[in-house]
Symmetry: C2
Subunit: 343 residues, 2 copies
DNA sequence: CTGAAAGCGCTTACAG
DNA sequence: CTGAAAGCGCTTACAG
């Protein structure tokens, strides 16, 4: 009675029906008489039988799998995944499972181009792309994906002529919220920390929001207060340390990510500047650690659960042939103690 | 010249060879003349052709995929993955990729039993299981996996009669290191926080190490200082708060995970106990946030990179028929400021 | 070194 | 409601 690696034919023999009927019964086809169906499913259960996904996928041209590709610009060998994207994995996986999809996770270097392989090899029906990357090389990848008709959605800004769908937050508004909070507290020498060049459209938009808030408050953007840093804590630390060493005065820092904000806070502390008394700090992302740093970090939150579930729905929609739109979410300011606002 | 979804037959027609030769050439078979092989690979590249994994997998009975199953005991709908296990995903994925394997990630409730499906459905060649779980229900799952000859490795303690391989750290030594550090600082009323019942063998072993260190220091284990808490920050907060409210005096806490340690530190602070002046705190895991809390947390580190890479090598070894052993790593005490040790 | 052929385990039109 | 049959796109013994 025990079969080592049972196939639908084994079930058929045991049930005294054809293999086709087994296939139908296991897919809950209404074409099969209920009594037959239940008997077949019972036998399948007893044998620990599961449909061979390779065979089914070969027939149906589907994998019921979504590939989740994490791009890592700053990543060396030992690099941890950007915690912001890492925290999406749970939501994406759970949400995909509830829609009947598996999730294949892969870390990609921006120099790789395995990404086109996932759908072409029928390993995945669609892709979700996560990562802050240099826009120019990123863009090439998107074009390559579009060229082979891959279904994909990218977390990030919606560029006008960019192929594919995107799901992102209104970064301009986010930058505005952060900066407006600082000007509202009377800060006037507000530095912005990060790579706000056009290579990083999401950070560039945060800069635009920053500039708008300054303008509204009657302040001028001062290029001496635009501090360039790659998106690592170490780079942020070094950049802020250098700026402070020049004698440049400042009373606030808007870091375009929490990772940068944490580095900035360390650099300020080591330079003897108190946060928030001497310098206010705002971040962006609301990483888990934002609540734990000292003082707890005021930051702009993107709703990652909503984003994760939305992206899964979008890619599944695309796979199933629905028409799907790009989405822009509204960010939210989370006030903690790093700016000196009363709670 | 452009083919929509090229197959090996299309390549064959274009190259003027048989489909079998294309298959061989693409797998770099030495049976194919080099010149022919290169010509075929060139054509494949031009057409953006990739081998259909479903078809190949059906033939070879392999998926070249590892399923990474994360079990979540405390997980409600909105629960984040335990950050300790989350941080392994990157290393596991990268390491699997370097060995030619994809990683399928799935969050599992301890009540589910999808886990047997992964290998039986030929979606994965083997499983890696991560998660702190209630040992009794966990054990049932392992037995079910073993019953259907699934290849798997579990991160956790090596129980004598447990099926499958495991990869874990020497939790007893870890508990000893933490507690010995505290006794060495002159602490004598050392609480232990967590679920150290036999349901959680890893935590129970940490308890054993704690008891051993106390014994060595001539101290007695006091059951009033064994604080039960599920592995969440909230539960730890509540448990420590209650204990302090009873008037129980204590001068140190060994939390069996960093998640618990963070909750304990909050509860102590809110009760007006200074860390480390009044109460020393040690954790376990060295989560990313351990360095960020205030004061930075002294903790026992498990080398997650080594563990991740080791587990991938082990499961791949198992898949490829090597003989593989369970491994126990040595943990390491990371001294920060939460105990008051001089740095 | 290359080709013809079988077959992996399914799904689904087609026929009854 | 059920079965016989074709075929998805590969890999690999077998024959040359």
């Amino acid at each position: 009675m025990k079969v080592e690696n049972p196939t639908s034919r084994d079930i058929a023999d045991l049930a005294g029906v054809s293999q086709a009927t087994v296939s139908r019964a296991l897919r809950n086809s209404p074409l099969v008489r209920q009594e037959t169906r239940e008997r077949i499913q019972q036998i399948a259960r007893e044998l620990n039988y599961f449909v061979n996904r390779n065979a089914a996928g070969l027939r149906t041209h589907q994998s019921n799998t979504i590939a989740l590709l994490l791009f890592d610009e700053t990543g060396g060998e030992d690099a941890q995944i950007n915690p912001f994207f890492l925290s999406m994995i749970g939501y994406i996986t759970r949400s995909a499972a509830s829609m009947g999809y598996d999730v294949l996770v892969s870390l990609q270097q921006l120099t790789d181009d395995w990404h086109v392989e996932y759908q072409a090899s029928h390993r995945a029906d669609g892709l979700i792309l996560l990562g802050y990357g240099d826009y120019v090389s990123y863009r090439e990848k998107l074009d390559a994906l579009a060229a082979v008709n891959t279904r994909f959605i990218i977390y990030g800004p919606i560029a006008a002529d960019q192929p594919g769908l995107s799901y992102g937050c209104d970064n301009q508004t986010g930058g505005y919220l952060a900066t407006h909070h600082l000007t509202g507290l009377g800060r006037s020498q507000i530095a912005i920390l990060g790579d706000t060049s056009s290579c990083h459209p999401e950070f560039a938009s945060r800069y635009d929001g920053y500039a708008r808030a300054l303008r509204e408050a009657g302040l001028e953007s001062d290029s001496a207060l635009a501090i360039h840093a790659d998106n690592t804590e170490e780079d942020a630390y070094a950049a802020v340390q250098s700026l402070v060493a020049t004698g440049q005065s400042l009373d606030a820092v808007f870091a375009v990510t929490d990772v940068l904000a944490v580095g900035a806070m360390r650099a300020l502390a080591d330079a003897g500047r108190r946060v928030p008394e001497d310098v206010s700090v705002v971040g962006f992302d609301d990483l888990p650690r934002a609540a734990f740093v000292n003082p707890p970090l005021t930051t702009v939150q993107q709703n990652i659960r909503e984003a994760s579930e939305g992206m899964v729905q979008a890619i599944v929609g695309l796979i199933e042939g629905d028409s799907v739109q790009s989405v822009q979410m509204q960010p939210k300011l989370i006030v903690r103690q790093s700016c000196g606002a009363t709670m």
